[in-house]
């Protein structure tokens, strides 16, 4: 019995939880018992949720397993960087799991989600306007709302609403608006979503929305000319932005040559590259590198911190985890019958995929850097809760897909 448990992935997960947090316990003097509590609670939450999914047959069991491994890696790194961030992250993890179950139940047993497209739109616009009026600027982007000492990013919720809205528009029956053809009306509303991000200077999310929108219409719209037109519009908007907006021009310049202004605009990306280089293949070992030199090492640049202390192999493992996560997502999409569910599941999966690509590509200087979070790993409540809403929806759909297959 024991031997089989160790061989199973869940056994590996428990093992890495035990070892990593024991190691971290000895990292700083005086020894802080809280680290052990953090490790213990992460482990218990992982095991309980995994058991619930397996024994109550809540659909696909791999999605959560992969996500919990990513969370473990993230929390280990956060605890190493800053105790308080790690502890806060566990709190958010607990809250996110609550959200995950609620989303699962709501999506699994209630079936009117495809009819609410104008609610999604109205809610998103309301959140956007709220952010623009009472929002607070943190790190150059006006996208935070502070309520009672806690700050959160409404745009993380809008991400999910955007996918739901697109899925409902692309697969449902739409009433004609102003005699526009259906797909042009959809494009109009999608660009409204994207235009609001322009005011918030959220280039990362903007890019993400562009990618998801183009991919979805490429799959769902048979009119090639319309798709080409959309790609053209996006390219024109992108090029115009790069030429006229100072912020974007700086980002592209630092991407092409960060070394020319290393102490100022190129500082983040060069520190990130130094960290990855310092790690080598196996990394310096947890607690032995200097990821504290990287700005934002706990959120946007956490991938560089992982690469420094766990090595290129650790970084590649993280990418592989995302890869099999997205593979499972596509697999679920294939089992679903045609319609809203299929489109929404596809949208959520590609949103995870593009988000991971944009931020990892950014910190390794493959593409210009835009600040978005790494799903499941970066510190931050809004990002984690939003990822778990998406995961809950995917989980519910996998259960539906199983039913459909039988």
């Amino acid at each position: 019995m024991k031997a089989t448990l160790v061989k199973k992935p869940i056994g590996m997960l428990v093992l890495i939880n035990l070892l990593a947090f024991l190691l971290l316990f000895f990292y700083r003097k005086p020894h802080n018992l809280q680290i052990l509590y953090v490790g213990g609670s992460i482990m218990v939450l992982n095991v309980i949720t995994y058991s619930v999914i397996v024994f109550l047959k809540l659909g696909d069991e791999y999605l959560f397993l992969i996500a919990s491994m990513l969370i473990t890696v993230g929390v280990v790194m956060l605890c190493r960087l800053n105790y308080t961030l790690g502890i806060a992250q566990v709190g958010w993890y607990l809250a996110s799991l609550g959200v995950f179950y609620v989303t699962y139940i709501a999506y699994r047993y209630i079936n009117f989600w495809s009819n609410l497209k104008w609610l999604y739109f109205a809610l998103s616009v309301a959140l956007y306007i709220l952010t623009l009026t009472v929002g607070v600027t943190i790190n150059g982007a006006k996208n935070w709302i502070v309520v009672g000492g806690h700050s959160f990013q409404p745009v993380e919720v809008i991400k999910v609403l955007f996918i739901f809205f697109l899925a409902a528009r692309l697969t449902g029956n739409n009433k004609k608006i102003l005699n526009l053809p259906e797909n042009y009306a959809t494009a109009f509303f999608a660009f409204i979503f994207i235009a609001f991000l322009l005011f918030q200077r959220e280039w990362g999310i903007m890019l993400l929305f562009f990618f998801c929108y183009i991919t979805l219409i490429y799959i769902y719209d048979s009119n090639k000319l319309f798709v080409a037109l959309n790609v053209l519009v996006c390219t024109v908007v992108g090029v115009a932005g790069a030429l006229t907006m100072h912020h974007i021009a700086v980002r592209i310049h630092t991407w092409k040559n960060p070394w020319s202004d290393i102490s100022n605009t190129g500082y983040q990306i060069t520190q990130s590259l130094f960290a990855i280089a310092a790690g080598g293949f196996f990394g310096t070992g947890i607690g032995m590198g200097r990821p504290d030199f990287i700005p934002e090492a706990h959120s946007d640049f956490i991938f560089s911190a992982i690469c420094e202390e766990m090595g290129v192999f650790g970084g590649v493992a993280v990418i592989l985890l995302y890869l099999i996560f997205i593979y499972r997502g596509i697999k679920i999409v294939l089992t679903l019958p045609k319609g809203f569910d299929k489109c929404a599941a596809l949208g959520i999966t590609i949103m995870f995929a593009f988000q991971t690509f944009i931020i990892i590509g950014g910190v390794i200087k493959l593409i210009p850097l835009t600040g978005i979070t790494l799903p499941f790993i970066s510190s931050g409540g809004s990002s984690l809760v939003s990822s778990f809403i998406s995961l809950g929806v995917l989980q519910a759909m996998s259960a539906r897909g199983n039913e459909h297959g039988k």
Binding site: K8, P9, I16, Y62, L65, F282, M288, G311, R328
Partner: protein, 150 residues
Amino acid sequence: MPRIYVFLSSFFKYVFIAIIYLFIFGIMKMIYLDIRKTDLPRPKGIPKGMPYLQLITDANTLYFEVSKAYPLDGEKIIIGRGVSCDITVDDLYLSARHVKLWYADNEWYIVDLESTNGTYINGTKMDKEPLILDSGDKIRIGQLEFLVVI
């Protein structure tokens, strides 16, 4: 930093990487076994041990009625558009009597009944000679593709 910690951390970095890769390997193996198991579920209504034809084409994309599986029940089965066939499918690309399958000497044989659009076995168009079917062969007629399960 205490020397013991330096030693432990340098040692455990290899352990962590090994465990994460074993974890990924474990999940991939489970997924692989899962795929193999769910690859060929026996469809509803087909008794155990009965040979059958399973539709591979996505039935949702077709405008006519078609079952997900047809049992090969009997000595001789004719598939076509005509109502006198054993298996009738209203696909415009099928001939009235398109293809014949029959059982003899412990083998299933197939022959094309000089249909207009032909019969493809595993992607190759068959000529007038009958062929022996094996489990896992794919038959394409009209817009339909069937998997042979014997």
